[in-house]
């Protein structure tokens, strides 16, 4: 009912091209270009101040870009006022109308479109069912919990069947459990409606779980744009690698299939493009490192080291191991075996060379 | 205060605001100009500006005595209002006691009860007691009238003040009294001072209540001006008005310079 017909368009459904914005003398957005396919769930990810919210507000029509274009479904919208774009936004603090009931809040956009009364009633209830809001029609926002207000805000936007749905960190105001539950619901809603969605967040996990594609932003530009796997396993720039949280970064001389760091000769995947002999950086995820008292022959990288620190996080335990003159962090499940490890003891740290990720040393292209 | 993102653009609002500001300020400007008129009737000076009306003020001792009385009265009333009002505000904001709301109500009632009613009531009571001290009854009326302003500004200061600071001071070894004097009082001084200045200005400018309580022995400036304006049509009244405006301007400038008008109006 709420699904959009899928058309194969040669021009991307949403295209931001060369967007620029300055506030005073600071350039907040520089030369931003992104393409989004119809029906995609697209995340803008980055630290605070990177410009992701500004970008979203430019899409919504609250901020006029200083340069560049935005085209939505073939239409150039960067000069259109907000009320004439078809890009509905869900605010971080929900921005519900306090003086209107839940029903009136959701119906607002339809009333602005001057739809007939019967249609409005039907579509509002449909939207309420979609976001799993019980029949709270006559209640006022202040009588609702945070999670319920969130659903009203979503329903208010979705009821318009917009071409573009803009979500501004919609889950950050909720506590952890509610956040996970609503996250799944948002994914489900997206599956049902197929609305093209742009989602802003600073939470890495959220972006990786929810998005079809992610744009990692920094200082007003896109550092890398790709699927969650791309971003995570093949970070294109040092910033992205750092943002993802790659901690075990090994830098050293490289040759065909090896990396030399200090006294260690580490196996790296042959497929990793190494231009020529020189320096390179590789990282391995903490969760891909195994620790044992005995050497583990199934891994092509296995070294003896000393445990310098153990931290218990409940379901996980993080162990810092000193190998030669570098320190690596291993993330282990808190099993009985793990609990036998002690600080100061010797242990073997092992990982597969295929789990090593090459980190680019150049800045974003 | 951060810049708002939702902005209504276009010329309509600025034009309207300018018109309203003009409406509010133009009369005062006109009065100032009229006070310099060389003519004997209310008019705008055309070619010559004359100070004769200011010089003629000396021939009207009632304005001088009125001004002195007004300043004296305003000082007395403001001081009383500050002392009583600050204490009351402290009581209302910081302590829970029975009838607290009633105290708050009584303290703010003079703002709601018509001034003519308050003035008449005080006049009637003093008269029935055969107590014809004009100065004192004016003082009583003005103190009553101005106290709510002090209560309001000091309450605002107090509610904005984080009590935890005083508790922290006590935790670090200060007695409750010392904590209040060294931590709380310095921070609410702006509220107390603002209340005092408001009280002074309200008292200095008051007409509605004062007309019932003035007399031959003790008259105040606004009422003198009112009487003069009722039967005369010359620019003398304008000259007196200008001086009164100047007086207020100095008071406002003092407020703005010391504490920032915006903060006090919040």
């Amino acid at each position: 009912m709420l699904e959009q017909p899928k058309t194969e368009a040669p021009v991307p459904f949403l295209r931001l091209l060369g967007l620029q914005k300055r506030f005073g003398s600071t350039a907040v957005i520089r030369d931003l270009s992104i393409e989004v396919k119809q029906g995609e769930f697209f995340a803008l990810l980055g630290p605070s101040g990177c410009g992701k919210t500004t970008t979203l507000r430019m899409l919504a029509g609250f901020i006029a870009p200083d340069g560049g274009t935005i085209s939505l479904d073939g239409l150039s919208i960067e000069r259109l006022p907000s009320h004439r774009r078809d890009a509905a936004m869900v605010f971080q603090n929900y921005a519900l109308f306090p003086h209107m009931t839940v029903f009136d809040n959701i119906a607002f956009g339809l009333k602005m479109q001057k739809r007939p009364k019967a249609e409005i009633i039907e579509r509002v209830h449909e939207a309420m069912r979609l976001v799993r809001l019980p029949s709270y029609d006559e209640r006022f926002p202040k009588e609702l919990s945070g999670g319920q207000q969130q659903r009203v805000a979503l329903a208010r936007a979705l009821v318009l069947r917009p071409k573009l749905l803009l979500l501004d960190e919609p889950l950050s105001n909720l506590d952890a459990n509610l956040r996970k539950a609503l996250r799944d619901e948002v994914i489900e809603i997206h599956r049902v409606t197929g609305t093209t969605t742009i989602f802003v967040t600073h939470d890495l996990e959220e972006a990786l779980v929810m998005a079809d594609r992610v744009a990692v932003m920094n200082k007003g530009q896109v550092e890398q744009c790709g699927t969650p796997q791309d971003i995570f396993l093949r970070p294109a720039t040092p910033f992205v690698a750092d943002f993802i949280g790659h901690e075990n970064i090994l830098e050293g001389e490289v040759g065909q299939g090896w990396l030399k760091k200090g006294t260690l000769r580490i196996q790296v995947p042959l497929a990793a493009q190494v231009k020529s002999a020189g320096l390179a950086r590789f990282a391995v995820l903490a969760s891909n490192i195994e620790l044992s008292e005995r050497p583990l022959s199934q891994y092509d990288n296995c070294f003896l080291g000393t445990i310098t620190r153990i931290r218990f996080y409940g379901g996980l335990t993080r162990v810092t191991v000193k190998l030669g003159d570098c320190e690596l962090v291993a993330q282990l499940g808190s099993s009985g075996l793990t609990r036998q490890l002690t600080e100061g003891a010797q242990a073997y740290a092992a990982w597969a060379s295929s789990d090593m990720v090459k980190i680019n040393t150049d800045a974003a292209q | 205060m951060s810049q708002k993102a939702y902005v209504l653009s276009g010329p309509l609002l600025p034009i309207w605001t300018s018109a309203v500001v003009f409406f509010l300020l133009a009369p005062l400007v006109v009065v100032t100009l009229v006070s310099f008129s060389p003519f004997d009737y209310l008019s705008l000076p055309t070619t010559d500006f004359s100070l004769k009306w200011y010089r003629r003020l000396a021939e009207h001792p009632e304005f001088m005595s009125g001004a002195l009385h007004s300043i004296l009265l305003a000082t007395e009333a403001a001081c009383t209002a500050v002392v009583l009002g600050t204490l009351t505000a402290l009581a209302i904001v910081r302590y829970r006691f029975p009838f607290r709301e009633m105290v708050r109500g009584i303290a703010t009632a003079p703002l709601i009860v018509p001034m003519v009613m308050t003035g008449l009531a005080i006049l009637m009571m003093f008269s029935s007691l055969n107590w014809f001290d004009q100065h004192f009854r004016l003082y009583a009326g003005h103190a009553i009238l101005t106290l709510p302003y002090v209560v309001r500004t000091v309450s605002a200061s107090l509610t904005g003040f984080d009590m935890n600071q005083e508790l922290a001071a006590r935790n670090l070894g200060a007695s409750p009294f010392a904590a209040f004097m060294r931590i709380t009082l310095p921070q609410i001084t702006s509220g107390v001072f603002a209340g005092g200045v408001f009280a002074f200005i309200v008292s200095f400018d008051n007409v509605g209540l004062s007309i019932f309580l003035v007399g031959a022995q003790f008259n105040i400036l606004p009422v003198e001006l009112f009487s003069y304006a009722s039967y005369s049509n010359d620019p003398m009244a304008a000259a007196v008005s200008v001086l009164m405006i100047l007086f207020s301007v100095v008071a406002i400038a003092l407020l703005e310079y010391c504490f920032g008008l915006r903060r006090l109006m919040a």
Binding site: P98, K117 | V21, L25, M117, I144, A229, N233, S241
Partner: protein, 287 residues
Amino acid sequence: MQRNSQTTPTNLGWLFSLPAMLFFSAFFLLPLGALCLRSFFETTSAGVWVFSLATYKEIFTDPYHLGLLWRTLKLSAMTTCVSILLAFPVALHLRQMSSRTRALVTLAVLSPLLTSVIVRTLAWMVLLGPQGTINRTLISIGWQPYQLMYNDFGVVVGLTHVFLGYMILSLMATLDRIDDNILLAASNLGANRWAVLWHVMIPLSLPGMLTGAVLVFTMSASTYATPVLLGGSKAKVLATEIYDLAINYLEFGLAAGMAVVLLLVVALVVLCVTRFVEGGRRRVIFE
């Protein structure tokens, strides 16, 4: 607020409020009580005080007094409405000004409040008088002079000028508190400027509008100097009559009665309007 009140030393609360309460009892509550009481009594020819409602009967049956009451309410209501009309766009504009312009405009709006009512009323006498600035200008360009003073018009203009600042302040405080995001959301959902104004800004500013209106209405109804000077004998209101009766005719009983009527009627109007506005706030979107 919990963090500001201490629950144990309640006697301090009593102690601190005592001085003011004593002062108020002596010079405010007692006189007012006596005044109310006085309005219910009159002396017989034998010089004895008897309880009687004659005062109130006279006030409510005499067309002259009823006319005064009516005019007082009418002029106050007109002043209030004009104030709201003038103040609302200004408050809207103030909301979005840069802090520097805002400070300047706020100062400009508030400074008249700090001058005496007599000064401001005088200023309007200069402008509106039969030989005042406005009429002189009209004559000099060939038009006929208008009767701008000694009538309802002059009084409303004068009262509006005196109290407009309070209305602007009230509205400004309320409009500022409206979350920007709510307005952006309305705009985003398809509302143009006027729709946002009508559906969101005005409903959300009603509390402030009401506070300001109550303030302006009550103060207008009780003002003395402005109606006297700008209205003369053609536009008398309750306040002027009360003064006349008390000072010029020494009719304290009647004056007291009128004062009580003034207070009660104004309070009644305020109560009714407040109820009406509060009740009308639960609107369904279809009306």
